[in-house]
């Protein structure tokens, strides 16, 4: 059945309170660090102080002898996993690399790399034990910067890493893991026809997802090998699978229970602590709880890639872009697997271009292994491309939104990465931005306005969902996705809509790995789309059962029953004149008509619709300090269909805020020894309430016909435009074009001082 017509909907599109809301506002909700188990030990992880070193020897004897210590582990306690390519944690990786990232083997590759762990009867004893572990390192030269890592003579991280994508296969090991290219048309011809060419280089630093909740888990291994894992993650099935893989355990012997999760944004789509805790629990025979400190989170978990973005755009004086070239060099951190692929593919997705050539490099260096972060790869490349398009617009004297309109991708446009676009709403976002009151508001001195666009594919994937009708006619929905942003409410709403009952008669819960069928993790903006699809299909199956039960009660054929507004009706006068039966009426008789009424659906959802956005940002620059104040921000996005509009708005506002932090202040700062100097929230500066105005959201709805309600993924697109939108606004305000992120006060004020050297007091 299709619910694409918004007019007929009763529940979807409204804004009810989420089912886990009360628990979260009174402090009762159970996050990863909030539970205990009887007999529990505290685990702590010892981390490398060196950016690059060989591990010569680890002596754990003194730690093991300390009273209260019940287990000590190093890589010797983990299976030595062979090279196994996989798509791990929402990005390309390798289980061998994941294992070595959880516990270093032979070499440490970044400041913060885990080398050992202990479990003890108190946190204080565990800390003391860590200090007693003696590690002998042979310190090696290190490399942090991506271009330095690519250069000849750079310290090599992996002796067995040879650049893929280069023909013939190289004989010398390299830090360049992979080279990929995308080509459309003929850029030589395109640039030859160009009347203006803009060529620029942009650079970004790694930034952390900075979820407020540090990684935490509590695990227990029984003497029969059965494991329970309670942890904060974006996917309990992912936790189960990776622990099984890394420790050689049968999947059926692990039960992974999802805690409430305090933010992930992609950073919790893989494991760090769980395998270590399981190893400690197995040895000690007791449950083990490990909670990361904030410092460990910054030093030891994956940030987003930083890198270099080289853009060259050729256009006619009219503004029509005739050729575009892009080179991306992304840092993968200590192991291969940066999101350079999506970075390449998203960069020009909003433009209809005949001639494009894109090259991407995946480069390792001595920093934590990168993890996914909201639209991985796209914010970096869009920062470069959207800034360059803005520079083009200014050179030509054309309004930046008009320039985008002129070159906009639409249904039928063939993207630079191959497929032809179908059912997309990019142009609508540009139009909505252009016509918005924000765009016409006058600006004052040192104030400027910038616009930028963004794109993300969104994914579908495997989801399972069950809808159970309870004996009193209420319904329970069981699904498998940790709820990062209100998805339980949306699941209950879709089920209520299909069943025809009110939202407060439907409860959605997140099941553990033993309580619901396999479900791919929460990420890729997939939950409302894929799990919503599974929930809808399960509810529809339940409706079919309800109709046949009504038929049994009335003793007529099931084909003669209709379901409407939560009730069974005879389908026409010929069927008989029966009073309608409500869901509750049928539920109470379910035993007599065949048994419990329930359906579980497992699917691999395809057809996730991509999302486009266009943002407008106003800033005010303080010329003396280089401080940038965000005056006003409007985010326009094609959301398909907003199931729960408040949570869609929330995704847009949250993504925008992270993008603003990425643009203005956030960065990893390393000292000359490759050590992270700012592993804390004081010096890793995220936006706070006083940094921002209200963030206006405009939801354009071009429904995705592949989803029963027309939903598209919405969570990731909003982080793609802000960096360029802010950079373009700064350029508009003070004529300073910032091409290196973050555009923090010291850097901006240095540029401004160059423009206008400050007069000395004596003059």
């Amino acid at each position: 059945m299709s619910y694409l017509d918004k007019a007929g909907l009763k529940v979807v599109g409204t804004r009810p309170i989420r089912p886990d809301g009360v628990d979260k506002v009174i402090g009762r909700a159970s996050f990863g660090a909030d539970t205990t188990m009887p007999g529990m030990l505290w685990g702590k992880v010892k981390r490398s102080p060196h950016a690059h070193a060989r591990i010569v020897k680890i002596d754990t004897s003194k730690a093991a002898a300390l009273p209260g210590v019940r287990a000590v582990v190093t890589s010797a306690d983990f299976p030595n996993i062979a090279n196994e390519e996989a798509f791990v944690g929402e990005g390309p990786m390798n289980f061998r690399d994941l294992s070595r990232n959880c516990m270093a083997r032979d070499k440490v590759l970044y400041d913060g790399h885990a080398v050992a762990a202990v479990a003890a009867t108190s946190q204080a004893i565990a800390d003391e034990a860590l200090d007693l572990i003696e590690v002998e390192y042979q310190v090696l030269p290190h490399v942090i910067d991506v271009e330095a890592a690519m250069a000849d003579g750079a310290p090599i991280l992996h002796e067995d890493l040879f650049t893929q994508g280069v023909d013939p296969k190289p004989t010398k090991a390299s830090n360049v893991a992979k080279k990929i290219t995308f080509t459309k048309g003929d850029i030589a011809k395109g640039f030859a026809e160009a009347e203006i060419v803009i060529e620029r280089k942009y650079t970004t630093k790694p930034v952390h997802q900075a979820y407020l909740e540090p990684h935490a888990c509590i695990v227990a291994v029984g003497s029969d090998g059965q494991c329970t894992v309670f942890s904060s993650s974006q996917g309990q099935f992912m936790v189960r699978a990776y622990c099984a893989k890394l420790l050689n355990i049968d999947i059926a012997n692990i039960r992974a229970i999802p805690a409430e999760i305090g933010g992930g944004f992609g950073g919790k789509t893989l494991v760090y602590l769980e395998p270590v805790a399981l190893a400690l629990s197995k040895i000690s025979g007791r449950p083990v709880k490990i909670v990361m400190s904030r410092e460990d989170v910054f030093r030891g978990t994956g940030p987003a890639a930083g890198g270099v973005i080289e853009v060259k755009i050729g256009a006619k004086k009219s503004g029509r872009i005739v050729a575009a070239e892009l080179v991306l060099k992304y840092q993968a951190g200590a192991f291969p697997g940066s999101p350079v692929g999506p970075g390449c593919m998203c960069a020009f997705a909003m433009y209809d271009l005949d001639n494009v050539h894109i090259t991407g490099y995946d480069v390792v260096s001595n920093r934590p292994k990168v993890a996914a972060y909201r639209a991985p790869g796209a914010p970096n490349s869009s920062f470069g491309v959207e800034s360059c398009v803005d520079e083009l617009a200014r050179e030509l004297g054309i309004d930046p939104l008009a320039l985008r309109e002129m070159n906009a991708a639409r249904d039928g446009t063939k993207t630079p990465y191959g497929p032809t676009l179908v059912n997309v709403g990019y142009l609508q976002t540009v139009e909505a931005a252009k016509n918005h009151a924000h765009y016409k508001t006058p600006l004052g001195p040192n104030q400027g306005r910038g616009v930028a666009s963004g794109f993300w594919f969104n994914i579908g994937g495997e989801s399972s969902a069950a809808v159970h009708i309870n004996e009193d006619g209420t319904a329970t929905v069981v699904e498998g996705n940790p709820d990062i942003g209100g998805s339980r409410a949306s699941m209950a709403m879709m089920a209520a809509e299909v069943l025809g009952i009110s939202y407060d008669r439907v409860r959605a819960v997140v099941g553990d790995t033993a309580s619901i069928g396999f479900t791919f993790l929460t990420g890729g903006s997939r939950v409302t789309f894929a799990t919503g699809m599974a929930v809808t299909q399960a509810a529809e199956k339940v409706v079919e059962q309800l109709k046949s039960r009504a038929a049994a009660i009335w003793d007529i054929s099931p084909e003669a029953v209709e379901w409407k507004d939560g009730k069974a009706f005879p389908a026409g006068a010929n069927a008989g004149s029966f009073e309608p039966l409500s869901l509750a009426d049928i539920a109470v008789k379910s035993g007599r008509t065949g048994g419990p009424i329930s359906a579980e659906v497992s699917i691999n959802a395809q057809g996730a619709g991509p999302g486009f956005a266009t943002h407008i940002c106003d800033v005010e620059v303080d010329r003396e300090t280089g401080h940038v104040k965000i005056l006003r921000y409007t985010a326009v996005q094609d959301v398909g269909r907003a199931i729960h509009p408040s949570y869609v708005e929330g995704q847009m506002q949250g993504g925008v805020t992270q993008g603003i932090g990425w643009a203005l202040n956030e960065e990893y700062i390393y000292d000359k020894d490759g050590r992270l100097e700012n592993p804390g929230f004081l010096d890793y500066r995220c936006p706070v309430a006083s940094d921002l105005p209200m963030i206006e959201t405009v939801m354009v709805e071009v429904p995705n016909p592949r989803h029963p309600f027309g939903a598209r993924g919405v969570g990731e697109v909003p982080i793609v435009p802000p960096m360029a939108a802010v950079a373009n606004a700064i350029a508009d305000a003070v004529g300073a074009r910032m091409r290196d992120l973050p555009m923090s006060p010291p850097k901006l004020s240095a540029v401004l001082d160059e423009q206008n050297p400050p007069r000395l007091a004596a003059e």
Binding site: F31, E213, P214, G264, S646, V656, F681, L682, A689
Partner: protein
């Protein structure tokens, strides 16, 4: 290592506990008293997830030692509601969808409640600066501010202002 005996008042209840000298108030709340509503986000007083009210002022419980509670009065997120009646700030957070993951929510609610104990008529800017010590990574603060301003308005009406 011998523990210290502390007598204090938490959420209006006389409370006693034993703690080690180096345990923070946050450690005591979470690990000794089972009050896990206050969260540990950074342990360095930079994120506000551990916010409590100490004698009427908001403090980061991670920056306070458990022994320092002796003789003082503490309010945590668990004490904000009145039985099963939510405080207007809590109710408005729900209505405005001012939480996504919910981890920063206890700290924000405690801080917002303390603001409204000081004044029922904050401007948006005053509220933003008051809450600047509470990091939120999910919401961008927009709906949080709307919830706080709406709660203030409800409380003004209840107070007959």
């Amino acid at each position: 290592m011998s523990k210290h005996h502390v007598t204090t008042t938490i959420n209006g209840e006389p409370t006693e506990y034993l703690c080690e000298a180096q345990q923070t108030m946050l450690d005591v709340l979470r690990d000794e008293l089972g009050l896990t509503g206050s969260k540990e986000g950074c342990s360095s007083g930079d994120c506000g997830a551990c916010t409590i009210i100490l004698d009427g002022n908001i403090v980061c419980s991670c920056l306070m030692l458990g022994v320092e509670a002796e003789g003082h009065s503490i309010q945590t997120i668990e004490g904000i509601a009145n039985g099963d009646t939510l405080h207007p700030v809590q109710q408005k957070f729900l209505e405005h969808a001012a939480l996504q993951c919910g981890f920063c929510t206890p700290g924000l609610i405690v801080a917002a409640k303390a603001l409204l104990d000081t004044t029922l008529n904050p401007t948006e800017e005053e509220a933003r600066y008051w809450l600047a010590g509470n990091l939120c990574r999910c919401t961008g603060y927009d709906k949080v501010l709307r919830a706080v301003m709406d709660a203030a308005s409800v409380m003004r009406a209840e107070a007959g202002q």
